[in-house]
Amino acid sequence: MELDVRGEICPYPMLKAVEAMKKLKGTDTVILFTDHAPCLSTIPPQAGRYGYTFQVEEIGQADWAITLKPKEATI
């Protein structure tokens, strides 16, 4: 699923990412679009906690796509 949290204030980018990972329980990849730089360092530990790997891609100026993939997935 894709999750666009651009413009959101703290802590909603992270809260929404965590909720998505909790809800999906590893059944789907989450792609999070964010302009909130702190996410780059705060989301990785949460991804590990819910069994996801993560990858950050800078897609524009202060604009990132964070891909959260379930660890044992074949997607």
């Binding site: 651009r6 959101e8 204030i9 802590p11 590990g48 906690r49 202060a62």
Partner: protein
């Protein structure tokens, strides 16, 4: 972590790709230095205060040192990253502050406090102020200093929060005398070296032991919530030539975020330097002054605040007049330094929340937080980050109350997602 970097394209391509924001950052920096010399003609110490405040703002921005998230994320995500940074900063500051205070008052006796130390009254006002502040900062998504640096990063919600803070401070000024009569006038300013007869050595040891205890509790809390740092796959950057090494150095200071522990340590040192120059870091004094000025121009001047001027901390400069005051240099300096940090990192961007709910949240959180900061005579910086190292009991009571307020705030913001 995959980050785009242009190093592989060679130096000429790199030069062409210098982000425009870095150039603006350079200009802001030059302007700020120019302003420092102008300020120095008003009063010599304004220049170092301004520059140190800029360094503090730069550090806050680079390490995203958000006191609101430090408290909130403990409850929300079980993460203590920023809280550990705060503890490190407090430990560093405590030692430096003790030496400075010793040079001012060598033998601590009753009612003789080192000048400018943030030793504030302890009592109901501290607890209520902390609860309000903790709740408000979580609702708004940033504390006072956090809102200052986010304003500079282009977060429009933080500008709204700042408006709320000014309103909250104005409401407090109108009701200060009630609080003074009801509780603050009877509250004592408890200073660990004299009140508990511990002297500087004992007070520093007690403070450091308490900080260590909190640090261990945070570690335990993180372990309990199952949080761990995964192996982060960082794409290795080429670092063979001198040029590449310089680039990596540049990026780790100006582009990548600093770990919170580094930010805390640097802020601790900046706090010491500011106290050496004149006074510890604090940002609400200027905001309170600004709020009072606005109210006066609206023909709603706040009543003469009973007892406030004698209390020190962020209240000490309320009576100052003119544009370039100590508190102006410090508060506006934080914004200027954050702006430089955001621009060098190419992170400045106007960010508008998409739902109206967030604007309301930012404003209401700001008002509650502003009121709390007025009541506690300082924010997370003035009443805690500068107060605990002043070996004052108030900083601890305020910090504990903040946790309580933040806990309640977390309950509310979860429902507002």
């Amino acid at each position: 972590m995959q980050l785009t970097h242009e190093t592989r394209k060679g130096p000429s391509a790199l030069l062409r790709r210098i982000p425009r924001q870095s150039l603006v950052a350079g200009l802001v920096l030059l302007g700020a230095l120019g302003l420092a010399t102008t300020m120095a003609t008003t009063e010599a110490i304004l220049a170092p205060l301004w520059l140190l405040a800029m360094a503090a703002g730069f550090t806050l921005q680079r390490s995203r040192f958000c006191f609101a998230s430090a408290f909130r994320d403990l409850f929300l995500f079980g993460s203590g990253q920023v809280m550990k940074g705060i503890i490190v900063g407090l430990a560093v500051s405590t030692i430096g502050f003790a030496i400075i205070m010793y040079s001012k008052v060598p033998s601590p006796g009753f009612e003789i406090f080192p000048s400018e130390a943030h030793i504030l009254p302890v009592g109901l006002s501290t607890i209520v102020g902390g609860l309000f502040f903790g709740f408000g900062m979580v609702l708004a998504g940033g504390c006072v200093s956090g809102s200052l640096y986010r304003m500079a990063e282009g977060y429009v919600a933080s500008w709204v929060t700042m408006g709320g803070i000014l309103i909250g401070l104005a409401l407090l000024s109108q009701t200060w005398n009630w609080w003074w009569e009801a509780t603050i006038s009877q509250e004592a300013r408890l200073w660990i070296p004299s009140t508990f007869n511990l002297g500087y050595g004992g007070a520093v040891l007690l403070t450091l032991a308490a900080l260590l205890t909190v640090f261990l509790i945070v570690l335990w809390w993180e372990a309990r919530s199952g949080l761990f740092n995964p192996d982060i796959q960082v794409e290795k950057e080429p670092d063979d030539t001198f040029q590449q090494k310089l680039l990596i150095l540049w990026r780790s200071i100006f582009v990548r975020g600093w770990p919170a522990v580094v930010g805390g340590g640097v802020l601790g040192v900046i706090g010491i330097l500011m106290y050496m120059v004149h006074m510890p870091l604090g940002v609400t004094g200027e905001l309170a002054r600004f709020s009072n000025t606005i109210m006066s121009s609206l023909h709603l001047p706040p009543p003469e605040a009973l007892g406030l001027s004698a209390l020190g901390g962020c209240s000490a400069l309320l009576g100052a007049t003119g544009l370039f005051t100590h508190s102006f240099a410090v508060t506006v300096g934080v914004i200027a330094g954050s702006l430089v940090g955001a621009l060098f990192a190419n992170e400045f961007k106007l960010r508008f929340p998409r739902s109206a709910k967030r604007y309301v949240q930012a404003l209401v959180g700001g008002v509650i937080m502003g009121y709390g900061s007025g009541l506690a005579i300082g924010c997370t910086i003035g009443a805690m980050f500068s107060s605990i190292p002043s070996l004052s009991v108030s900083g601890w009571v305020f910090g504990l109350s903040l946790s309580g307020g933040a806990f309640l705030g977390v309950k509310v913001i979860k429902r507002l997602a």
